[in-house]
C-alpha cells in the first residue's frame, strides 16, 4: 500500500484570482457555453438584485484544479465539488484556499479529502467545496 504523503491540516497555498472584468466574463461564457445573461448583461443582473454582473460560480470552482495540481504534482484529483454562496461581482477578486480535512485509506492507497473555500474581497464565503486527491499512478 502506498503511504500517505498528505497530512490532515496541510494547507494549499492561497491564491488570489481576478479582478474579473466584463471581457473575462464574456471569455468564460464563450469557453464554457454558459451565456446566462445574468453574467453578461448589467441591466439583467440588476433586475435580479445584483449591483454588478456576478462572476460564473463555475469559474471559481474550476480554478481550484490548477491550484491543486500545482500544489501537489504527485497527486491527481479524483473529484471536485462546490456550493456557490455569495457572488463575486465584476471588478472584484476572489481568494482561493484549502486544507486537508482527512485521509482515507482505500484498497488501492489513500485518498486525501481537501476542503476548499473561495472568499470575496469583502471576506464573505463565495464557494465552499471539496476535492478528493490520490497518488498519481502513471
Amino acid at each position: 500500500m502506498i503511504a500517505p504523503t498528505l497530512k490532515s491540516g496541510d494547507r494549499l497555498p492561497s491564491r488570489v484570482i481576478g479582478p474579473f472584468l466584463q471581457e473575462n466574463l464574456a471569455a468564460y461564457a464563450a469557453a464554457s457555453g454558459d451565456f446566462n445573461p445574468l453574467h453578461l448583461e448589467l441591466d439583467f443582473a440588476r433586475r435580479f438584485g445584483f449591483a454588478a454582473r456576478p462572476v460564473h460560480g463555475m469559474r471559481l470552482l474550476a480554478a481550484f484544479e490548477p491550484l491543486l495540481q500545482e500544489w501537489r504534482e504527485d497527486l491527481t484529483p479524483l473529484s471536485l465539488k462546490g456550493q456557490f454562496l455569495t457572488p463575486v461581482l465584476e471588478g472584484e477578486r476572489a481568494t482561493l484556499s484549502g486544507r486537508v480535512a482527512k485521509i482515507e485509506q482505500t484498497a488501492s492507497g489513500f485518498v486525501g479529502i481537501i476542503r476548499l473555500m473561495a472568499q470575496t474581497e469583502r471576506g464573505a464565503p463565495a464557494l465552499m467545496g471539496e476535492a478528493r486527491m490520490a497518488a498519481r499512478t502513471v
Binding site: 464563450a30 464554457s32 474550476a62 480554478a63 471536485l80 465539488k81 456557490f84
Partner: protein, 136 residues
C-alpha cells in the same frame, strides 16, 4: 401530499473532449497553459447541448432565472483528450424551493462508467427579488 418531482431522462448523448475546446477552457479557468489534461470541470461545456440546455430553458421560461447553486464532478477514470463519451442524463424538477437537478453519468464508448456530474440550478422568480435600489 407534495407532487412527485418531475423527472426526464435522455441519452445516450454523444459528447467529445475536442482538443480545441479543452484548450480554450483551460485558458479561461486559470491553467498555466493551454496544453495538458482535460480539466475535471470540462463537462460543464457539454451543458450547452440541446438535450441539457432545452429543459433548463423551459424551466427558466416557466419559473424564472436558473442560478447555479452547486456542482460536482466525480471520476472513476480521468477524461482523455480527443475522445468521445456518452452521457446518460436525468433531469429532475423540484418545486419547494424550485430547482432543476441535472445528473449525468459519463460512459466511455465501450460502455464503461467514467464518472458522474451533478448540476444543481436554483430557479429564481424575478418578481420575488427586491429591486437593487431597495437593497442596502
Amino acid at each position: 401530499m407534495a407532487a412527485a418531482p418531475k423527472v426526464e431522462r435522455a441519452g445516450p448523448l454523444r459528447v467529445t473532449t475536442a482538443s480545441e475546446a479543452v484548450r480554450t477552457f483551460r485558458l479561461e479557468t486559470g491553467w498555466p497553459g493551454a496544453e495538458g489534461v482535460v480539466p475535471l470541470s470540462f463537462p460543464v461545456v457539454w451543458m450547452k447541448s440541446p438535450e441539457i440546455a432545452e429543459p433548463i430553458r423551459a424551466a427558466a421560461e416557466e419559473v424564472g432565472l436558473p442560478l447555479h447553486e452547486a456542482q460536482s464532478f466525480d471520476y472513476i477514470e480521468r477524461l482523455e483528450l480527443d475522445r468521445s463519451y456518452d452521457l446518460m442524463l436525468e433531469m429532475r424538477r423540484e418545486t419547494n424551493p424550485p430547482r432543476l437537478v441535472a445528473k449525468a453519468d459519463i460512459h466511455a464508448t465501450d460502455g464503461s462508467l467514467v464518472g458522474h456530474v451533478v448540476s444543481t440550478l436554483r430557479l429564481i422568480d424575478p418578481t420575488s427579488v427586491p429591486a437593487p435600489e431597495d437593497l442596502v
